[in-house]
Symmetry: C2
């Protein structure tokens, strides 16, 4: 089995790379049982999640990842908790905002995972 | 079953209340299978975790919680993912630091939970 830190790194590169390029590409990593809590708003299911992510009020976004931490969340099932902190810049904004985001990845066939839990928050002052 | 947001709120009040009063009181919410990743340092087991939490280089700490988000992390087992953001002040420091912390709480008898996963990060600029 691949090291979970390596899995987390591959996932984070995939997720934010696609988020910044075309958020519609993230459709394949969510399922109908997936949950997103975005700045306190709770959404369940891939359609609602993608609708939310593609209607966030900006055209362009750029994430800069600063930390990635991973732990097994359900060792016998192979699920992984991934916690990320970083900065984001939207459109022509010059001042980055800090954010934290936590995912639980659940195995979905050999070598694949889907996002079961997703919690996003800006780090407020 | 109690609402998971209510469980998360009770847990957060308990955890940070005891963290700020006497970190030794947190011994009962960790087990030998518990994992803590503190600023990237990985520690497993209640003894190592409490030793880490009681030797963080400050005498006094005060947490101010700003957001609490909760999702079921393993619905059939009753486990809960809790993600917290807030500020902390240590000793005589006047400028708060922002932090994010994510827990997975796993049921441990009726109405009780223990911390299986714990990931702590300061929100860097």
């Amino acid at each position: 089995m691949a090291d979970i830190n390596e899995i987390a790194k591959v996932f984070v590169d995939f997720y934010y790379g696609n988020f910044d390029a075309d958020r519609n590409n993230l459709r394949n990593v969510y399922k109908d049982i997936s949950m997103l809590t975005f700045e306190g708003q709770q959404i369940q299911g891939v359609n609602g999640i993608i609708e939310k992510l593609t209607n966030l009020g900006f055209k362009r976004i750029q994430h800069k990842i600063q930390t990635i931490d991973a732990q097994p969340s359900h060792p016998s099932a192979g699920s992984i908790l991934v916690s990320v902190t970083g900065q984001l810049l939207t459109d022509d904004e010059q001042n980055p905002q800090r954010f934290s985001q936590t995912f639980q990845l659940v195995p979905d066939g050999p070598g694949n995972y889907f996002i079961f839990n997703d919690i996003f928050r800006l780090c407020y002052m």
